[in-house]
Symmetry: C2
Subunit: 132 residues, 2 copies
């Protein structure tokens, strides 16, 4: 059961922008794009991003300092995320592979640590860039 979050005005503006872009967006590029809608300051963007990440509507691509809309309704509130990143064209997509997510969610070792969350980033060349 996915909890329904009613997005606030700024959250909605920013989520819609990222979602429509279809790819990762950086915070200051988001800021630039929403200035015409009245969002003027970095903090307004970061606050909305924080909330959207918290509720799982977007994810942060840590190695790129960028944010992408969640494409996978089953990755509940961003506790288990995996991405593939093309090092040539910087295309990013979310991997939804149930074997992989099961394997990682159940992973444990002898460190005594209880893992509650993970983020995985794969790098390589996408189909297009490979054939160039």
């Amino acid at each position: 059961m996915q909890k329904i979050h009613n997005l606030s005005k700024n959250q909605k503006i920013i989520f819609d922008l990222i979602d429509k872009s279809g790819g990762p967006m950086k915070a200051y590029s988001i800021l630039f794009n929403v200035q015409k809608k009245g969002i003027k300051a970095p903090l307004q963007v970061y606050r909305a991003l924080d909330k959207l990440v918290e509720i799982g509507k977007i994810h942060k691509i840590e190695s790129r300092n960028a944010f992408i809309a969640c494409q996978n309704s089953s990755c509940q509130v961003s506790k288990a995320t995996a991405f593939s990143i093309c090092e040539s064209c910087e295309n990013v997509s979310e991997i939804s592979n149930s074997k992989l997510s099961k394997y990682l969610s159940n992973f444990s070792d002898n460190s005594g640590m209880k893992y509650s969350k993970y983020n995985l980033e794969f790098f390589g060349l996408c189909k297009k860039c490979k054939s160039k």
Copy 2:
């Protein structure tokens, strides 16, 4: 066969500092610590860090913007890295688990992408913090 890299003066100073610290260090904290050794500017630090990452002597913890000495001679030149991060005390350690690394190195899906590299970060509470 591990290639031997002779570290330059700055690279050695910075690697030794990170290695001795035993944990992740941030770039500007490194800078502060090596100023007495004549390294005065951020760029000198970042250049050494870039090189050390490239040759696999250190890894970047992406979610923390921090750098840690490689504790695992088998993770050749940082192509396959996994870390566990305590969200309470921020302790970080490198996971060396051959099953995990085999599983991830061999991972492929139907995206047509060839993965040549990955970075995985697990989050949770370490033994100490769990028992508080």
